[in-house]
């Protein structure tokens, strides 16, 4: 994998104070203006607190209850249910969705992730199915344009080595995209340089850039 070093125009997301999310009733509300720029921002909350709802709202898939937000960049929302036809091989998925110029790099990343691209999607394990969606999204970033990637629990089912490969990829390409990643980290030392938290109906920014998952756990409980 050879990530492109070229810097893309900055993608931005700005959540304005008063932005309220939910389907029919209020799930959570932004308590302060939150500007986000290129890089990886983790979205942390306990179950049912509105992580997916926030990502879908930012992706334009559902409406806000009130308030506003701004996004700048080409958006990709990768939901936790994102999957392909069970008879389709990952190789065919990549050929259909990833531009030819970037496909080799995609196969290289798949190889590093130990993803068997010749196997039918339906025969892949849960974690490996997640990898297919991750690779597709990562290599559909548009070069020279601001990119927004909203991942809903991409690490579920992934083992630590695979997660580290993905984190490496994100670090190497942080200038190309703004990523918001909802997750339930399962090891305390996982670094969280930037995090959005949802707790007690409030959406706020947490961390000073040097915190780990262990530091955030207390705030979410």
């Amino acid at each position: 994998m050879t990530p492109t070093a070229r810097e893309s125009p900055k993608a931005t997301v700005k959540l304005s104070q008063g932005l309220a999310i939910g389907y029919n009733s209020l799930l959570a509300e932004v308590t302060e203006d939150i500007p986000l720029h290129n890089g990886t921002h983790y979205l942390l909350a306990r179950n049912g607190r509105g992580k997916t709802t926030l990502l879908k709202t930012l992706a334009g898939l559902i409406r806000t209850l009130s308030g506003s937000f701004e996004t700048r960049g080409l958006c990709q929302f990768i939901g936790d249910e994102f999957c392909f036809d069970r008879e389709l091989k990952s190789r065919a998925v990549f050929k259909a969705l990833i531009p030819a110029a970037r496909r080799e790099d995609a196969f290289r990343l798949a190889d590093r992730l130990e993803l068997d691209v010749g196997k039918e999607f339906g025969k892949l394990s849960f974690g490996n199915k997640k990898k297919v969606g991750l690779v597709v999204a990562e290599f559909r970033l548009r070069e020279g344009e601001p990119n927004l990637l909203f991942y809903d629990e991409p690490f579920t089912g992934l083992d630590t080595p695979a997660r580290e490969v993905i984190s490496e990829r994100w670090d190497a390409t942080e200038n190309q995209a703004l990523r918001i990643v909802s997750c339930h980290p399962d090891f305390d030392s996982m670094a969280m340089p930037s995090a959005l938290l949802i707790s007690e109906g409030r959406i706020f920014r947490g961390g000073d850039g040097n915190l780990t998952w262990a530091d955030f756990k207390e705030r979410l409980n």
């Binding site: 898939l61 990709q76 999957c83």
Partner: protein, 257 residues
């Protein structure tokens, strides 16, 4: 375009298209051999034409409509619909991307039916031959105007209510329009005083008009062009109605969201 490519890749991966093409190619050759053609050789050619187009109808109803339902459901439930919508691909473009990929796989079946009629059942008389060609082209047009909108409806319904509804409703409508309305018409003629039935008959889709098999079997020649234009406009109107329903029903994510 990406969703279209993904749908094409999926259809190719399912490999059912191989069986479909083989069926479309082989049945018009094999089935007519079951007729008593040894005693009456003139039976063979109309039988080939009949089998070729019957096969196209069966494939259209059993395969095309089922694929439409399957893709409609999976697009909304697999997160692919949401993914593409987040990228700016709206509902209308998504439903047409899926639909056009499915229809692309039906085209060879139609071409095989036409090819069978032109290569293996062509009348020797030049005037009849010319009419034969036009009848087949008219048939192909009306056939596609029947199955196409029903497939679109299947995608739309399935994306909202699931594959079962997305398959059963268009299939039921198709069979009703092909056969049911004929019985309804007979009932009305026999009873003659039921306004409700007459009204139902008037609003029913008359898909039986799209089936030109009898014209091929009995060499009745192509439809008069004025009739064909009328049928064409009629099916175009049905296309607009079903297309509107389908696009209104189409969802890129499951109903619960």
């Amino acid at each position: 375009m990406d969703l279209f490519r993904l749908t094409i890749s999926t259809l190719l991966a399912r490999k059912m298209w191989v069986v479909i093409l083989l069926v479309a190619l082989i049945t018009p050759v094999v089935f007519p051999l079951f007729t008593p053609h040894e005693t009456n050789a003139s039976l063979l050619e109309p039988a080939r034409a009949q089998t070729a187009w019957t096969c196209a109808w069966v494939i259209g109803i059993l395969w095309t409509l089922s694929q439409a339902a399957r893709f409609g459901e999976s697009n909304s439930r697999s997160g692919i619909g949401s993914y593409f919508r987040s990228q700016g691909l709206g509902s209308l473009r998504q439903i047409f991307a899926i639909w056009s990929a499915i229809m692309l796989f039906l085209l060879p079946v139609v071409l095989i039916a036409i090819g069978t009629c032109l290569l293996f059942a062509m009348p020797a008389d030049p005037q009849e031959a010319s009419m034969w060609v036009w009848t087949n082209l008219q048939f192909a047009t009306l056939f596609l105007l029947t199955i196409g909108p029903l497939a679109l409806l299947g995608v739309g319904l399935a994306s909202r209510f699931g594959a079962l509804v997305g398959y059963v409703a268009p299939t039921g409508l198709c069979l009703y329009g092909l056969y049911g309305v004929t019985y309804l018409g007979m009932t009305i003629r026999l009873r003659g005083d039921n306004i409700l039935l007459e009204w139902l008959y008037a609003v029913s889709p008359q898909y039986r008009l799209a089936d030109l098999t009898p014209r091929l079997i009995f060499k009745m020649g192509h439809l008069p062009w004025s009739d064909f234009a009328g049928f064409f406009l009629y099916f175009l109107a049905i296309t607009l109605v079903l297309g509107s329903f389908a696009t209104l029903l189409f969802r890129t994510d499951p109903l619960r969201n």
